[in-house]
């Protein structure tokens, strides 16, 4: 990356690098690989859902017999891939891509820092994340296979099922990695801003990373404690989650009893609801950057958006039990969580409203990153709105744990966060490699993906309404699912189409690193923030001279300035 580091060996420069930019790219590429692996798993599962009991084409015969006897996916294999799909996509895909990848690469240059506050800790964070991911993948090779109790890992099932110990071990690595990362992010934002970069001048992407870091810091330890107790239940035979009188497969349980099953669910969702905002906020910050840049005008309600993000972050700690309305938790408690859930929807609406109003008066450039960013708004809107019937106690009685839930959170995380992250890749690619990605292929990738994604996830609302439960290996085993079976076929075909439309992206990404159109200007998008004020790609230490910041982040089309963007680091507007 950098020509300043010529005294460094290849290993120090590209593998065990302490440079936040190298670490960011390492995170990004690893996370993209994990996203592909997780996507591959769901393709196999989707084949089984659309055409239950048929041989999986192309790869069916290659899968081990424990997984897919005779090329037909078995229920054990289905449950293993189901659990690992969730785990991989969330903990190894989206979060490492948005926080580890973009957070590491973009946040320090956006605040004018030479690197993260603790570069070696940053490197360690990646080198704890990668083994965590590899442990997760390796669990498929263990006797008994990978974890098969869902990514939520509810006991007692997770305590008695094979594969869970390795999953818990992998989670300990991933939790450690994100704790190291979050401490580093917070200290960097607080103590390493360029002169003049007050908190209220920070770009929204940096704000979103800052709020996210607090969520990771405070929400993961409870999951860690929950995982430690589950691990103890499995390894030491403790009884944290094992109640009295269990009879498993006709045999009285050897556990001493006295544990509480619901305890785990409370602890899990105490993490996992803030985790939802970890999945949402950084991509939101990211599209705010793209939209500000491509509307050529200041964002509407910058401060409101920052306050809304902080409010969301704080509130996300008091809504967790809306995942548990029908678990047998005291029904009166549900009413409390119903109200907090309705309250938390308000700042989310405010965030979307601000971005939409930002379009008013704009001169919208429809380039590839902007298309991805704009698609986020209505599709994330669908994801958010379909959260309402799930957050309402009454409708949740019926919709809880149906395909409606799957449709809802995939609209939030895939058509929302993942699309935003794709947009981010197109947007910051010139910064990372000094070359642009191809626009034509980018637009093909966009239109193909956006149509395919809706084709995958919209049918899920319909079969969810019909009452189809999630995580069913074979939906046709139930009478009430038969009518919706064509929807599974549509969904599966759309998933295959989505795979096809990733080919232009992969080609475009790899090809553009070496042969993309060179950017003569380090600021090809004519942007205002500091990340575009340093060379592309930035050298080691980022800025030749520490920049000074004179104004807020989005001074586009300033009336006193000759050009339509007024960079943060420019001392005076020029007429």
């Amino acid at each position: 990356m950098s020509d300043h580091g010529h005294e460094l060996s290849f290993w120090e420069k590209y593998v065990f690098s302490v440079d936040h930019k190298v670490i960011g790219i390492q995170y990004m590429i690893t996370a993209l690989c994990f996203l592909m692996i997780g996507f591959g798993m769901i393709l196999i599962m989707r084949w089984q859902l659309a055409y239950p009991g048929t041989v999986i084409p192309l790869i069916g015969k290659l899968l081990p017999a424990t997984f897919a006897p005779g090329g037909i996916l078995g229920p054990t294999g289905y449950n293993q891939m189901g659990a690992m799909h969730g785990t991989i996509m969330i903990f190894l895909g989206i979060v490492p891509l948005s926080v580890g990848g973009f957070g590491n690469y973009v946040m320090p240059i956006q605040i004018g820092a030479p690197d993260m506050a603790f570069p070696r800790m940053n490197m360690m964070s990646y080198w704890v994340y990668l083994p965590g991911g590899l442990i997760m993948l390796a669990s498929f090779l263990m006797p008994g296979g990978a974890a098969q109790s869902g990514w939520t890992s509810y006991p007692p099932l997770s305590v008695i099922n094979p594969g869970q110990t390795v999953w818990l071990l992998g989670m300990v690595f991933l939790i450690t990695s994100s704790l190291l990362g979050s401490i580093n992010f917070i200290v960097t934002v607080l103590n390493l801003r360029a002169p003049g970069m007050t908190l209220w001048r920070m770009p929204l992407f940096t704000w979103s990373q800052f709020v996210t870091a607090f969520l990771l810091l405070l929400a993961f330890p409870p999951l860690e404690a929950a995982a430690i107790m589950q691990l103890a239940d499995r390894v030491l035979h403790t009884t944290f989650y094992m109640p009295d009188g269990l009879v498993i497969a006709g045999q009285a349980s050897t556990y001493a009893g006295g544990g509480a099953v619901l305890l785990y669910q409370h602890l899990f969702w105490f993490l996992a609801h803030p985790e939802v905002y970890v999945l949402i906020l950084p991509p939101f910050g990211l599209i705010s950057e793209i939209i500000a840049n491509n509307t050529r005008k200041p964002l509407f309600g910058y401060k409101e958006m920052v306050y809304a993000m902080m409010f969301l972050g704080g509130m996300s700690f008091v809504v967790w039990a809306h995942h548990m309305f029908v678990t047998g938790m005291a029904p009166a408690m549900a009413n409390f969580f119903l109200i907090t859930t309705m309250i938390i929807s308000v700042p989310s609406v405010a965030l979307l409203t601000c971005l939409i109003l930002s379009l008013k008066g704009a001169s919208i450039r429809y380039n590839t990153p902007m298309l991805f960013a704009l698609s986020y708004l209505p599709l994330f809107g669908i994801g958010g709105l379909t959260g309402l019937p799930l957050g309402l106690t009454v409708t949740d009685i019926y919709l809880h744990d149906t395909y409606y839930v799957i449709g809802h959170f995939h609209y939030v995380v895939v058509t929302g966060s993942l699309m935003a992250l794709f947009g981010g890749i197109y947007f910051w690619f010139p910064k990372m490699f000094g070359r642009k990605m191809d626009e034509g292929l980018g637009k093909l990738h966009f239109w193909g993906s956006v149509i395919a994604m809706n084709g995958i996830f919209f049918p899920m609302f319909i079969i969810g309404m019909q009452g189809q439960s999630r995580r069913l290996f074979d939906p046709t085993a139930h009478l009430h699912n038969l009518i919706g079976q064509p929807m599974h076929v549509i969904s599966t075909l759309a998933a295959i189409a989505l795979l096809v439309f990733q080919i232009p992206f992969i080609y475009n990404f790899l090809n553009s690193i070496f042969r993309g159109e060179k950017c003569s200007d380090p600021n090809p998008w004519r942007a205002t923030t500091l990340d575009w004020a340093c060379p592309s790609p930035p050298p080691h230490g980022n800025f030749a001279k520490v920049p000074r910041v004179y104004r807020g982040p989005y001074e586009y089309s300033h009336p006193d300035h000759k050009e339509d963007f007024l960079p943060q680091s420019l001392e005076k507007a020029e007429a």
């Binding site: 506050a117 570069p119 200290v187 003049g196 405070l218 409870p222 103890a232 403790t238 944290f240 001493a256």
Partner: protein, 198 residues
């Protein structure tokens, strides 16, 4: 800005007036509070749901645990002393107090090992019942934190002899070790009554 030496200029970055390391250790401790807080919450939930709960002093060795409490409090005092010796640039004093701290922490672990061994000899294990599940997992996790602290403190002793004493970061690192150690002590101060006395 610990090791970004290349980019260091005579520029004052915007900051909140707390050194990086201190900020980081406080954030780390915040996450630790959440970790042990969760375990305490689980203890309360499980205990309130249980039909019967053993009284700590009937089933656990309270005198040994009391001894352990004094050992840890003592070590918290000596680590403060060792930090003040660093500020007074008293190398021998720092070494003495830090060594006492490490010895007291080893003492804590030895007493803990005696307690554990006595339980195992009576056929009591984490799997015996929910009370012992909590007892072994919380004290075990606390024990791991003690071992971590010993490692850190031994590292400081070694570093002091090998160039660390004159390093400008040295005093800060001793202070952070002290903050961490106080936290480990504090966790015990909560664990002791929760498990042994109540």
């Amino acid at each position: 800005m610990s090791s970004t030496a290349e980019a260091v200029e005579t520029v004052e970055y915007e900051n909140v007036g707390i050194p990086d390391g201190k900020l980081a250790i406080w954030l780390f401790l915040a996450s630790e509070v959440m970790l042990f807080g969760t375990l305490f919450t689980s203890y309360i939930v499980l205990r309130s749901a249980a039909p019967a709960w053993p009284v700590g002093w009937d089933v656990l060795n309270v005198p040994l645990a009391t001894l352990n409490t004094f050992l840890l409090i003592g070590s918290s005092v000596t680590i403060v002393m060792s930090h003040s010796r660093v500020q007074k640039r008293d190398f021998a004093g720092f070494n003495t107090y830090m060594a006492i701290t490490v010895l007291l922490s080893f003492g804590f672990l030895i007493v803990k090992a005696i307690e554990y061994a006595a339980k195992f000899n009576h056929g009591i294990a984490p799997s015996t019942n929910i009370f012992y599940s909590i007892y072994f997992v919380t004290t075990g996790l606390h024990g791991l934190h003690v071992i971590g602290g010993i490692g850190w403190n031994l590292g400081l002793l070694w570093w002091a002899k090998n160039g660390g004493w004159d390093d400008k970061l040295f005093e800060g690192r001793v202070e952070y070790a002290g903050l961490y150690w106080h936290f480990v002590d504090l966790v015990w101060i909560f664990l002791f009554p929760a498990l042994y006395l109540l």
